[in-house]
Amino acid sequence: MEKKFLGQRIKRNEDPRILTGRAKYMADITYHNMLHAAFLRSDYPHAKLNSVDISAALEIPGVIAVYTAEDLGDLWHPGPVLVPAPHSIPGIKANSRTQIPIVKDIIHHQGEVIAMVVAENRYIAEDALAVIIVDSDPLPAVENIEDALKPDSPLVHEELGTNLATYVRQERGNFAEIKTKADYVLQQRFVMDRGGAGAMENRGFCANWEEDSQQLTIHCNTQSPSGLRNSMAAWFGIPEQRVRVVVPFVGGAFGPKVMTNQPEEVLCTFASIKLNRPIKWLEDRSENFIGTTAERMQVHDCEITFNKDGKVLGIRDSFLYDTGAFNPYTATIPLNTQTHTTGLYNIPVFLTEFTSVFTNKMIVSPVRGAGRTYGVFVMERMLDMVARQLDQDPTYIREINLIPADAKFPLETGIIAQDFAQFVLDSGNYPAVLKKAKDMIGYDDFKKNIQPKLRAEGKFIGIGLVLFTENTGVGPYEGAKITVGNSGKVFASSIYGTQGQGHFTVFAQIVADQIGCRVEDVIVETGDTDKFAWGTGTFASRGATVLGNAYHHTAKLVRAKILATASRLFNVPEDELELGDGVVRIADVPEKFIKMGDLATKANPMRGTIKPGTEPGLEATGFYAPPYGATAYGAAAAILEVDPISFNIKFHKFVFVDDCGTVINPMILDGQLHGGIQMGIGNSYFEKLVYDENAQLLNGSLMDYLIPRATDMPSKMEIGHLNTPSPLNPLGIKGVGESGTIPIPPLYCQAIEDAFNLPGLFISEVPLSPSVVYQLVENAKSKKQGELL
């Protein structure tokens, strides 16, 4: 396999456009006759809607239309289930409720759309919202997931008779039995909340229905152009081929933009068809906090059983999950939690069960990390409990419980994953990642020589080291089309959404290696459904793995056509030809060559004949489908200091070690990890959506919802790599998009505990904040000796 560009630190093809302000985002999309939409959203989390009086809004000059549920007629219905329940798991209970585009009778969460205004500009539209009179009667709201399952709880969906959304139980071995055989059994409650995605660019949608051509063109910053096309085609009864979705440059997505059939999408398309005008909507930050999607709280009740030597025998994890008012994504997040709990450890027995619960809150979607974070959090925290109980170093407890380097991969876990296939650890060297992280952070030296001195100086400085896995690159499939053009430029298109991951470069590297051209001569097109029709979307850290291998496969098909065409042209066998520098040449005869563009012209002649039975041009379409996800894994380690007055955190050293198999572009890989770590830091110490007991959001602005700033980041992140190629795909790639985010919360907990070194300080809830840590430390100081937890 040619590997001239794969693995190189190549500057990004897309950056000149982005850095000089020439990249177009949703706000830049415009039509001369475009109208603007604004949405009236519910203030109440749960209410009965009696009436909506739009008469005053219609009188405002510049208002073109105001729509409520009645206007939709037969188009008013719940959206489809986006991800089905894992029905193959025995004993599953599944209640499904999906979003409706606009409230007709019952309001299920704050932020739900009650009315839509279409006006000549957004200012007029917003003014019109202010004079719409909504008559509604508030109902008791479901906020707390533990109370939601009690018999006297109010119900989010009255007709279900329960707030239970999904229940799944999976067991490897027999936990009840192993519990009686262990030297120790510890039990602990853990609570983890996760916030919104906080993308710099909010959602945006522009629908343009053209009556004459019967063509719907949608611009949207979606993660799933194909999913959006298919859903709008189905909703409005238009052939997919007459729906074109175009994704401009996107200012971050991180999960919520994978959702399709969202109310604003349906309503803007509806209005565009009705008015035969382009309709655009840009979500504002307040709407983003209440009207899009986020991740949410899990409450875990865990038990860990282990022997005196520190070997873990079994784990039980029973958890509740807040799925919000509707559950179109069903169980992806809690399934990811189940599959990532025991991770890279050798835990013979594992019982995991979850109940996801409807509440009167904005619905959930995966957010970077997507459920894996919770599993890693409870596992790493439980290993720290074992270390404390046995008075052992946390890294020793991890070392003796890791799956050994000589284990016979692939290893089946017996736990069904988010792709409904069994989670299989495909490859890896887990002891090596622990050792590398320990070496890079200087673990033993810090513990033995440095920390005692700093403690003697009165400093609160601690070290932490945690491990994780990330099941990446799941199916179903991705595809691509590659064409060598007359100019010699290579056009490589897929339907995949791109949001800053460097797709214009990494896929160009893969293609250039096969075609034998420069990386900058490969023009990568992403997210235009007219350029390539087939694919699923950007999620589950799957771009490099699934689409990367589709590009690799397709480029090989084009390479074969290049060789066959040149072989006929030069009348030499294919194995005497070589590709490189944008030309095909006869090996050993350097003056005998043809430029790739000229060969493309010869392969697609305008007169004469081509060889019967062959296809014109140098073009191919190809697909790649993985059997199941590829296992990335890694470790995060930090030395941090807690300021005893402000309780702010300062990192003295930060190390991240990752094994994502074959690396395409180390520079882009580092960037992915940096960004992921930033989100992990937010999830650990800053970001929390706070609701009152009536499910009212209390911090719906960036003034009160904190996102870490540059100064909250480690000044330097040292990144280490192991490279165990995945045996599942020809390039050996594993995903990395979410890795940085996953292990950070337990890292904070372990290092903060180590900094204070108080027997009574054990952290079981995240996100933390300076005031929370202050309280925990004060409580710990007042506990008696021997009260561990």
């Binding site: 203030d43 704050q110 009152d692 009212q696 209390l698 009160d704």
Partner: protein, 148 residues
């Protein structure tokens, strides 16, 4: 949100009570620009213009006086709804006679807010509510002084 506090009037309890229950006076104690008008002895309706931090707007409002025990206690219920959200407050008021012809007003209540008021104005609501209540009592205090 729980709200409680005390305010001491320089006047005897019957005078304080008469001011509190004067339909033409009570509405003036609502801070902000208000058009609250009495529609009966114990009900007012109209609009209140409020500004809480970055959130401001016109609220359709209703004020009700309930559970009267003259001249000792009553309950005030205030409701407002508008483009920036909604608020509903219930305050139980108790008048206690003090020496030197003074009267202590004790209040304890619940304030529920929603919409933008809650999601954006939350961090300001506590201090704004306290200052609004204080401002209201100061207006009533002036009327008490006028009647002495």
């Amino acid at each position: 949100m729980k709200i409680e506090g005390v305010f001491t009037f320089n006047g005897p309890r019957p005078v304080v009570w008469s001011v509190l229950r004067d339909v033409n006076i009570l509405a003036t104690a609502i801070p902000g620009e208000t058009t609250l008008k009495p529609i009966s002895d114990n009900e007012y309706e109209g609009t209140i213009k409020l500004k809480i931090g970055p959130v401001s707007g016109l609220f359709a409002g209703k004020l009700t006086v309930a559970d009267e025990v003259p001249p000792e206690s009553c309950t005030l219920i205030i409701e407002g709804k508008g483009g920036a959200g909604f608020a509903k407050g219930t305050g139980h008021i108790q008048l206690i006679e003090l020496p030197d012809n003074k009267t202590q007003l004790k209040y304890i209540g619940d304030l529920g807010i929603g919409g933008k008021l809650a999601s954006v104005g939350q961090r300001m609501i506590d201090s704004v509510a306290k200052s609004m209540i204080k401002g209201g009592f100061e207006k009533l205090e002036k009327e008490v002084a006028n009647r002495l």
